[in-house]
């Protein structure tokens, strides 16, 4: 049965713009677990107390975003690299 609770990287568009200062959903990211490259907007996002971004190929946790006392912290847990789109 399909899991229906997640959304995608678009949902973190605003938060990522706050952290990086520019659009990031079309940035490419490489999963450190399986090496697959995807645009951030295509990654899977699970919403809990924090937001967990997972690789669509292997489901490994790539980024975790938490807001602790008004401050946003981004854990780049298993992101081998991140490459913003050319502007």
């Amino acid at each position: 049965m399909t899991d229906e609770t997640h959304v995608d990287g678009n949902a973190l568009g605003g938060l990522l713009m706050e952290v990086f200062g520019h659009e990031m959903t079309d940035a490419r990211g490489c999963c450190d677990s399986c090496g697959t490259v995807n645009q951030v907007g295509a990654m899977l996002v699970y919403r809990g107390p924090g937001d967990v971004m997972r690789c669509p190929a292997c489901a490994n946790v790539v980024i975790v975003a938490v807001t602790l006392h008004e401050r946003t912290r981004l854990h780049l847990s298993s992101l081998r690299w991140l490459e913003p789109a050319p502007r």
Partner: protein, 201 residues
């Protein structure tokens, strides 16, 4: 100056007595689903629950065995770190006191492990003394997968991220290690009455 939205109010059930609500919480009528990953789908014939780690010998139960243990109906208030609280939620499950009965250990810490890889850590004393259950029914129905079914840990006196969904094992340890959310900045203990949401609170 913060902009106030004309006529906007939070959705809230009629006022509950304030002594039932921890600081910073509000009462909700629905039951939000929060998750850190895909909902695991475990067949009841392959499901197992285990007590492992620093114990005299590991214990394990199949679904039939666990649900044959003496169970309790409990009605409790639950509090999520994202600020919603749900009062008078009813569950059916096996008390951890029953599960741990006869288990010999010198350990005082627990790591709960879930199907799908989620973890959360608790002191052993917080899951004993009638304060925790392996719950498999909610509101009179089998626990839905999105809410942690077939069975989840239920520890209502702590923030609800400690009530691990899809629980499959409790590992008894003598050293404390942070679980999933604890490792990402959430409080190591998580007492809603002391508003211990984030580490350092």
């Amino acid at each position: 100056m913060t902009f106030i939205s004309r006529g906007f109010q939070r959705r809230q059930a009629p006022a509950a007595s304030s002594d039932r609500l921890p600081p910073g919480q509000y009462v909700t009528r629905d039951f939000p689903v929060l998750s850190a990953g895909p909902t695991p789908r475990i067949g009841l014939d392959e499901w197992r629950f285990e007590i492992i780690g620093q114990v005299d010998r590991p214990r394990g139960w199949s679904w039939q065995e666990l649900t044959a243990l003496p169970a309790e109906e409990v009605t409790v208030d639950i509090h999520c770190v994202t600020k919603w609280s749900k009062l008078d939620t009813s569950w059916r499950g096996v008390s951890l006191d029953t599960v741990l009965d006869g288990v010999e250990t010198a350990a005082d810490q627990v790591m709960a492990h879930s199907y799908g890889g989620y973890t959360t850590n608790l002191p052993l004393e917080d899951i004993t003394g009638g304060r925790a259950w392996i719950a498999y029914e909610y509101d009179g129905e089998p626990l839905a997968a999105e809410h942690g079914g077939p069975a989840r840990l239920l520890v209502p006196h702590l923030y609800f991220w400690k009530s691990a969904k899809w629980v499959r094992a409790l590992e008894l340890r003598d050293t404390d290690e942070p679980g999933f959310w604890e490792g990402y900045g959430y409080h190591n203990y998580g007492d809603p009455w002391r508003e211990q949401r984030y580490s350092g609170d």
